[in-house]
Every structure is written in C-alpha cells, then in structure tokens.
Amino acid sequence: MTIEQEIAFVLNRRFEHVPIPEFPRDVFQGADELRRGTRVSRRLRASPFAFAASALAFCGILFFVPSISRAVKPASDAMSARLINALMAATLPHVKTSRTPLKMTSRELVPQSLAQAQRSIHFRIVLPAGLPAGTRFRDATVSDPTGSAVTLWYEAPLHRGKTPIVISESRGEKGPVFSTIAKYDGHRHIVIHRIPRPRWKHGDIAMSLDSAWLLPPDLARSIQRANTRSGP
C-alpha cells in the first residue's frame, strides 16, 4: 500500500465515522422565496423612483455634510490631537510629548476698524505721518491676543494699483531689524532676501514699517523720517 492509498484510506475512515445529519426539509421553499425577494429588489433598484430617491439622498448629503462638519470640527480637532499624542507615545516612547491637548498657536486675524481695534489695545494707537497722498486706511488687526500689538493696513495708490502699507505698533518690543522675504527666481531656486525694516519709537510704543520691501526705498525712508520728526 502506497502512502497515497494509506492517506486516502485513513481519510475515508475519518469521514465515514462523522455522522451526517439529514438534509433539511423544505429548504428549497425558503430558497425560492429568497430568490423572489432578490428579483423584486433588483426591479426596485432599476426603477426611476430609486434613481430619484438616490439623487435626493445625494443632494441631502451635499447639503448636510458641510454644516455637520463645521459643527463637529472643534471636537474632531481635539480628538485628532489626542490620537496623535497616543500614537506618538506608542511608537516613539523615548520622545516626550505633551499629555494635554495642544492649544492653537495661530489664529485668524479679524480686520477691524480703528475704533474696534482701540477697544482691545492697552495703549493709544498712533496714526503714522508721512504717508503718500491718496493713501486710505483699510483696516486694523490685533496681532497679539493680550492686546499689546496692533497692525495698521493702508492702501497707497502707487504703481498703478493699490500698494499695501503695513505699520505695526507694539508696546516695548521693537521687532526684527530685517524683513526676510523668500522669492522664486524663475529658475527653480528660491532666494532669501533680507531687507532692512524701518523702525522708530513713539514714546514707549515701537513702530515698524513691515511692508518696506514693497515700497520704493525713498518712500520708506521718508515715512520713517516723517514719523521720527513728529515725536511725541
């Protein structure tokens, strides 16, 4: 007897002794009902009513999903922060991570009128002098949540368009000496420019012309000179 014959024999014996239950009765009646049900559902799927219902459901989803996501977003942000913390702790245990959810470090700058901005600023906002003729105030943004810094946005009619003149004011701190600007040179390279930022003090309020790199050098210097001359 070969090994194949022996295996076949043992398998036969193995299955011979498995008691086979009786084939269930009326099983095909149920199967026929099942098939009839399937046919009905197929017919339903192909009907115009089904198309209309699915189109309506699709429109409903398009309408509701953005509003629901807006409502859910704050909770999902906190959940994502917790999930990322847990993943970091599980995968990189030697890296110390914060157990508490991180706070948002950036926030939306809300354009405000001068009076609105003044209400949330601790010092009196100084209006800059020496701006070119035709310049008009656009808005102010409170750039520090504690109310110690404000940025004033003006629009000057230069270069056949509206050139922004951005002036920052803060109490005490003077801000950086240079503005760092990254520009694409048109040949696959990004060039970093460091342009001097005109700064001056008005009492204890430090002011700087942040958009000096957008303005002609003479104009930036004249604005600085005009504000330095008209001290407090």
Partner: protein, 186 residues
C-alpha cells in the same frame, strides 16, 4: 461512473429542470459538503448551517454557471468559502472552536494504534495543508480543481499535497513496516 461524474450529471439535469432536480443535486452534494464544512469548522452545528447555506447557494446560482463540467470545483469552492465565513464569524463572536482531534464524532473503533496516530496527525495538520489533502484524496478533485475550489494555483496545491505527504510519511512508514513484519513472521 465516479461520484464527481454523477454530480456533474445531476447538475446538468438541475440546470435544465426544476425544484425536484435541484433538491436531488443538493442531496447528492450534502454529505461531502457537510464533511468539508465540519473539517474547517470542527463544530457539527456550525458545519450543518454552513453546508446548508452552501447547498442552497449552489443550487440557486446554478444558472450562472457557464461550464457545467466545472461544477464540482465551483460547488466545493462555495462550500469552503461559506465555511470560512462562518469560522470568521465564530472567531469574531468568540465562539469556542472544538479541537478536531478531540471531536467526539470520530469513532475509530477497530482501527489499530498506528492508524489512530495517522488520524490524529491528519487532524492536527493546519487547514491550508489538510483541505487540499481532503479535497484531493477524499473527494477526488484534481489538483487544478482543488486550486479552483480553494482559490489558489494548481502548482501551489501540488506543493501543499507534497508537503502534507512529507509530514505524514513517518507515521505511514511505521505502520507499513509493522504490517510487513507481521506478515513475514512465521
């Protein structure tokens, strides 16, 4: 005429005929479908449900089968997939799966001790080795049909059969040697 040929003829008749022919086909398929399901699940109740599902599904979808000669492989593929689905559900639901070796349904009365070892050895083979063995040596499917039934290529089936034989060979050889010695004794 082998059992598989009978099954093909019944399938041909059931494809043309009505409910009685389908029921005859299902009754012919039922014992081996139940055995294969029992081998996968190791539980009589679950095997009965899986085999019943498979028989109904096979008979209901018989009209979709283009080559009636491929019926055995296709039918056992349905049986295997239903049993595996059921096993997955059992694992997910945390149902206890009885070990095959200790299954009370095996009644090996009269079998010699070395055959019991072979019983146990086949029972303890992993499913990916045991199923090709059963479908090939017990049901009688060719390696190509076993491949179709299990969703694997025929060379893989042949490799698994060879591997299973290699694992069982020591037990078989011990038995064959013992038989030979008994016969040669004066």
């Amino acid at each position: 005429m082998s059992g598989l040929d009978t099954l093909v003829d019944l399938a041909r008749a059931a494809a043309l005929g009505g409910a009685p022919a389908r029921e005859t086909l299902a009754r012919a398929l039922w014992p081996n479908a139940y055995r294969i399901a029992w081998s996968i699940l190791g539980d009589t109740q679950a095997a009965e449900e899986a085999a019943q599902d498979a028989c109904i599904a096979v008979c209901a979808a018989l009209a979709d089968l283009r080559q009636i000669d491929a019926f055995p492989a296709w039918a056992y593929r349905t049986v295997v997939s239903r049993a595996r689905d059921r096993a997955r559900r059992m694992r997910r639901d945390g149902e206890r799966r009885a070990p095959l070796v200790d299954a009370p349904t095996i009644d090996a009365t009269g079998a010699s001790l070395d055959r019991l070892d072979l019983f146990a050895a086949i029972g303890t083979l992993p499913e990916w080795l045991r199923l090709p063995l059963e479908l090939h040596y017990f049901i009688g499917l060719s390696s190509r049909e076993v491949g179709q039934a299990l969703g694997i290529p025929a060379p893989t089936v042949r490799f698994r059969l060879a591997l299973a034989r290699t694992r069982l060979r020591p037990l078989v050889e011990i038995r064959l040697n013992a038989t030979h010695q008994t016969e040669s004794m004066p």
